[in-house]
């Protein structure tokens, strides 16, 4: 399966009477890494959660507009959000391996949870996903250890392996390095570089340096509005919008 493109069209989302995202329009090319930056509360997390329909799990949450995955609207009435989430994987801010499961079980948890793991596949799938997540060499001798026994950075890569094991086409990452030290962060970023092309990756990050390092396109969100989206090089050297300039140079105010 090849990585799809994403097209966000007239997207509005919010909670109850409060609109968090206003009329977003965004094109995400297939197999690229797109970074979403913006100050806290700008709607970054809400936005990324509309891409795998996790947003609607919170009480009172609503979404209007369209998100096209290739030609398919994620919000069409015949789309089952549960099945959709197998195509659009997600990695969270805090590493959240299942504490009661071993490393191996964590990796195949997605398949096991959904009952799509056939016997005898476990080892092969676990190894493939762990290799993809650049964790295999570190854990191959202790696959039965609990996932929670790994370091924070390893746990996060375990979570990435877990997401990849379901064989998604899109990978959403919600501040995946905010709880990690610089070395662990560098490993994840290296991993993101290696996943580019095979997956369409959307990365929410607080670190502009990280956005600058790993993404090809960067979108700047401010108070639920998409201020600017452009090539990452362009955004960080010469953004078009004054608000982007002020934000990335730290003159926000």
């Amino acid at each position: 399966m090849t990585a799809p493109r994403l097209h966000v069209h007239k997207l509005r989302a919010g909670f109850g009477g409060k609109e968090v995202l206003h009329d977003l329009e965004l094109e995400i090319a297939a197999g690229t890494v797109t970074a979403i930056i913006g100050p806290s509360g700008c709607g970054k997390s809400t936005f990324i959660r509309t891409l795998n329909r996790m947003h609607e799990l919170v009480g009172g949450a609503w979404v209007k507009g369209r998100v096209l995955l290739d030609e398919q609207d994620l919000y069409a009435s015949d789309v089952d959000p549960v099945l959709l989430r197998r195509r659009v994987g997600m990695v969270f801010q805090k590493p959240n391996p299942f504490p009661s499961m071993s490393i191996r079980d964590n990796v195949v948890a997605g398949l096991r949870l959904t009952g799509t793991l056939s016997r005898g596949q476990t080892e092969a799938i676990a190894e493939r996903a762990l290799r993809q997540a650049a964790l295999w060499d570190e854990v191959k001798d202790r696959l039965d250890d609990p996932g929670a026994a790994l370091s924070g950075g390893q746990q996060q890569r375990l979570c990435i392996a877990r997401a990849l094991a379901v064989d998604p086409q899109v990978l959403l990452m919600d501040e995946p390095c905010s709880a990690l030290d610089p070395i662990a962060t560098a490993r994840i970023e290296d991993l993101i570089h290696s996943l580019r092309g095979r997956y369409t990756i959307v990365l929410v990050t607080h670190s502009m340096q990280q956005a600058a390092r790993v993404s090809e396109r960067t979108a700047f969100l401010l108070r639920g509005e998409l201020v600017e989206v452009d090539d990452t090089r362009k955004i960080f050297t010469k953004p078009n919008d004054r608000r982007t300039e002020d934000y990335i140079t730290g003159r926000f105010g």
Partner: protein
């Protein structure tokens, strides 16, 4: 050292001393109580006490029907209350949409847990004994106790479910699991130790109850073991209650010995829960 620092330190010591006393006081009281019971029970402390039926002669009387009755009633209660309680709590926490209905149910639950047990006894008498026609038997007693224990199990389960971090639910949902898959494979296993604690707590409560059982029809003087769900029965607290109301000194020794047996059974149950929890924590798969 300057005077304010010195004063601050003195206050800290004082607070520490008060807290220590507060912690020790109930322990001392409990110790005293236990000692008193043991001394009183001493004349009746013999192995045959466990294997004999009640008798008019205090020295040959035993607690066997109470022991067996208690174990049976409590097991039945657990069988009825735990699945329903856990199920209801799981529904409320994991499935029900937050809203007026959920708030109403939760408010009532808190109230139910505070209702005096005698009220449950009356309810059981009306509902199970008379309306459902179950008679004054084992099942009616267990159902009544189940009503009593249900809110406790439910509230404890709810607390246990609330300690499961949302990040785990989200992690599982993001992998494309359904609500039920998330609940059954991730949330419940994670909350199991807490749920078990709640269940044991509730069942222990049932073990000590007397009043509702007396209302539903447990009798203190039974000379046979129950054979069916509608058999007449007794439990340890009921038997103890019966002995306490006899004037002869020997029977109060029997009552004290009954209390010892009851306490040992409770301790045994709590210990079992502790071991179970520890084992689940270590190897939860």
């Amino acid at each position: 050292m300057n005077p304010t620092r010195l004063r601050a330190r003195q206050i800290e010591r004082l607070v520490e001393a008060i807290c220590l006393t507060a912690a020790l006081l109930p322990l001392l009281m409990l110790g005293g109580l236990l000692l008193d019971v043991l001394v009183q029970a001493w004349p009746s402390m013999r192995l045959s006490f466990l294997t004999h039926y009640p008798s008019r002669a205090w020295a040959s009387a035993g607690i066997l029907p109470g022991l067996v009755g208690s174990v049976l009633v409590v097991s039945l209660t657990a069988l009825l209350a735990v699945p329903v309680g856990v199920g209801a709590a799981t529904y409320l926490e994991e499935f029900a949409a937050p809203g007026r209905f959920r708030r109403l149910v939760e408010l009532n639950l808190a109230n139910l847990a505070g209702v005096p047990s005698i009220v449950y006894g009356l309810l059981g008498l009306a509902l199970f004994v008379h309306f459902a026609g179950l008679g004054h038997g084992l099942l009616a007693g267990a159902l009544t106790l189940a009503l009593l224990v249900l809110p406790i199990v439910l509230l404890a389960t709810r607390e246990a479910l609330r300690t499961v971090p949302d990040s785990l639910r989200e992690g599982a949902l993001a992998l494309g699991a359904t609500r039920w898959q998330v609940t059954s494979r991730v949330v419940l296993p994670h909350a199991l130790p807490g749920i078990l604690t709640g269940a044991i707590l509730g069942v222990s409560r049932a073990m000590g109850e007397t009043a509702p059982l007396l209302l539903v029809g447990a009798v203190s003087y039974v000379t046979f073991l129950p054979t069916s769900l509608d058999s007449p029965f007794t439990t340890m607290p009921v038997q103890i209650f019966g002995w306490v109301s006899r004037p002869q000194a020997g029977f109060s020794a029997n009552a004290a010995a009954g209390i010892v047996v009851l306490l040992l059974t409770l301790t045994g149950m709590n210990l079992a829960a502790l071991v179970l929890r520890a084992r689940l924590r270590r190897d939860p798969t």
